[in-house]
Amino acid sequence: MPVIELREVTKRYGDKTAVDRLTLTIPDHAVTILLGPSGCGKTTTLKMINRLIEPTSGDIRIDGRSIAAMEPIALRRSIGYVIQETGLFPHYTVEGNIGVVPRLLGWDRKRIRARAEELLELVNLKAVEYLDRYPNELSGGERQRVGVARALAADPGILLMDEPFGAIDPINRRSLQDFFLGLQSDLHRTVVFVTHDIGEAVKLGDNIAIMRDGHLVQMDATHELLEHPADAFVTELLGATRSAEQLLLSRAARYVDTAFVVMSTEQMRRGGGSSGNAPLIVLRDGDTIKGYVEQGQLVTCDDPDEAICAFETVSGNGTLLEVVRTLLESGRKRAIVVDPDGGVLGTLSVPMIVRIMEGGLQ
C-alpha cells in the first residue's frame, strides 16, 4: 500500500504562495489529517496529490514513483476522492454514482452492480432499497456514506477526503465519523483527510499535519502532537482540544493500558497466571472474553475463580468519555477495550483516564 511523499512542494498563484516548500511524508494504512485555518493551503495540498492542481515546483511521489510522470487521468482513477456532500451527481442513481469510476475503467454492468451492492452493504445501507434512488432522496448522512462507497468503488489504496463531513449537522457528523473509523479499521487505506475541525482531526487522525500560510508547522502522531505541541501556534490551535472535554472525546484505543496477557480460564486455573510478568490477565475462551484477573489478587486467593473480576467491553473506536460513562454506570473497575474483530486492545479504568487527562492538560 502506498506512502505519499511530498518534497519541497510549492504552489504559487501569481504573487501569492498557497503552499510553500512543503515536505511531508504521509504514511500508509493510516489516516493523516491536514489541519489548519482556511487559506493555509491544506486543500491545495490535497488536490496536488491527484493532480487537480499542478505544483509550481517540487515533487510528489507515491510509493517512490513521481506522479508528475504518471498519466493524470489514470492516477485519479486509482485514487478515491470524497468532497462535501454536494459531490454526488444528482442525475445519477446511487448505483450510477458508485459506478462512475468502474465505468471509466470499462467494467461490465453486472460487475458494477455486484460491486455497488457489496459497497452499500459495507457502508450499512440496504442495497435493494438504495441502488435505484437519486441523491436528493437521501439524507445528508446517507449521501455521505454513498460518497465514501463511491470513492472505494475501484478499490483504491489511497483516499483523499476534502472536508467530507463539513456540511453535516453535529450529531450526524459524529455518527459518520464513527462509521468512518469502523470502516477504516477494516480497510486500512492510506487516507489524507482535510478538515478545519480540530475535534474531528483528533478523533479521526492517526497523524495530524498542521499547516499555516502554506507551511507545515508540525506533523506528528495525534497523541504526540497533543502532548508536545511544537510552538505557540499549535498550542493555541489545539487549545480547545487540550481542554478536558476535548480530551475525553479522543479514541479509547489510543490510550489503553497494554500491560496484559491473554489466556484461557483453563490455563489460568492450572497456574499459568502466576508465571507471567504482566500485572493483568485477560481470560478468554475461544471468542468469548470471560473476565480479567489481577496478578496480585491471584496469589492471595485459594480458588483462582474467585479472583475473576466482572468487566465491561468497550469499542476501541469509542471515546474515553464513553468508557468513563460505562464504568461509572456499571460500577465495574475496568473496561476491556476491543477492536471490531473482537481482539483485545487493552484495558482502561477511571483512575487511568484521570491520569491521562492530567498528563494531557499540563
Binding site: 491527484n50 459531490g87 451527481f89 444528482p90 434512488r133 437519486y134
Partner: protein
C-alpha cells in the same frame, strides 16, 4: 363559419401544416446542431463567447421580413432565391441565438464542484462534458431549443411570402381576400402547432435524461 372553412379546406390545411412542421423542424434541428457546437466551443473562452453571442444577437435584431427579403437577394445567384431554402435559412439564423446563449449559460451554471469531482474521479474533459455538464445543463439548453422552435412556428408564417409554403398562406391569402374564416383558421392552427411543439419538446426533455426529475420520477413509478 370557421368550422365550414376548415371542413372545406381540410386537405389543404393538412398539407400546409405538414409543410410548416417540416420547415420548422429542419430549421430547429440545424440551429440546435450549430447552437450546441458553438455554445460548447465558446464555453470557457470569454472573448470568443462575447463575439459569438454578439453576432447572434445582431442577427436576432434584424426584422424578420427584412431578413427573408435579404436572403432572397443573397441566395438568388445560386438559384435558391425563393422557396424552402431561404425560409429555412432565415429561421435557422434566428434560432441560433436562443440556443447558443442558453447552452453557454447552462454550461457556465453547472456547479463547479461537480466538474471538479468529475475530474477528480478521472474523467477526461470530454467525459466530464458528456456525462456531467451537458446532463446537468440540459433543462436550460432544452429551454433554449423550445424557445427557438416555438418562435420558428410563428415566424414561419412569413415564409409563404417568399414561396416557402406553410400555414402563412391562409393568413396572407385570407387578408388579401378579406376572408375572416381563412385568417382565423390559419391563426388557430399556427397557435395550436406552437403549443404542440412546446409540449412535445418538454416531453422529449423528460425522457432524454431518465434522472432529470431526480427524486420525483420515483414517486410517479
Amino acid at each position: 363559419m370557421t368550422g365550414t372553412f376548415i371542413a372545406g379546406y381540410w386537405a389543404e390545411l393538412v398539407r400546409r401544416t405538414l409543410q410548416h412542421v417540416v420547415m420548422v423542424a429542419a430549421a430547429t434541428m440545424l440551429a440546435t446542431v450549430i447552437g450546441l457546437v458553438l455554445g460548447i466551443s465558446i464555453s470557457g473562452h470569454e472573448r470568443a463567447a462575447r463575439w459569438v453571442i454578439g453576432i447572434a444577437s445582431v442577427l436576432f435584431t434584424i426584422p424578420s421580413l427584412a431578413l427573408f427579403a435579404l436572403l432572397v437577394v443573397a441566395l438568388a445567384p445560386i438559384g435558391q432565391g425563393t422557396g424552402n431554402v431561404p425560409a429555412v435559412t432565415a429561421l435557422t439564423l434566428y434560432s441560433i441565438l436562443p440556443i447558443v446563449r442558453n447552452t453557454w449559460v447552462a454550461l457556465r451554471q453547472v456547479d463547479p464542484s461537480m466538474v471538479q469531482v468529475a475530474q477528480g474521479m478521472g474523467m477526461t474533459s470530454r467525459q466530464a462534458l458528456l456525462r456531467v455538464k451537458l446532463p446537468l445543463g440540459l433543462p436550460m439548453i432544452m429551454a433554449g431549443i423550445r424557445h427557438a422552435a416555438v418562435m420558428d412556428v410563428g415566424m414561419g408564417t412569413i415564409a409563404t411570402l417568399i414561396g416557402g409554403g406553410g400555414l402563412g398562406y391562409f393568413v396572407f391569402e385570407g387578408i388579401a381576400r378579406a376572408d375572416r374564416s381563412m385568417v382565423l383558421a390559419g391563426t388557430i392552427v399556427i397557435a395550436l402547432l406552437g403549443l404542440g411543439v412546446n409540449a412535445a419538446l418538454l416531453e422529449a426533455e423528460n425522457r432524454l435524461v431518465p434522472g432529470r426529475h431526480y427524486g420525483r420520477r420515483r414517486a410517479r413509478d
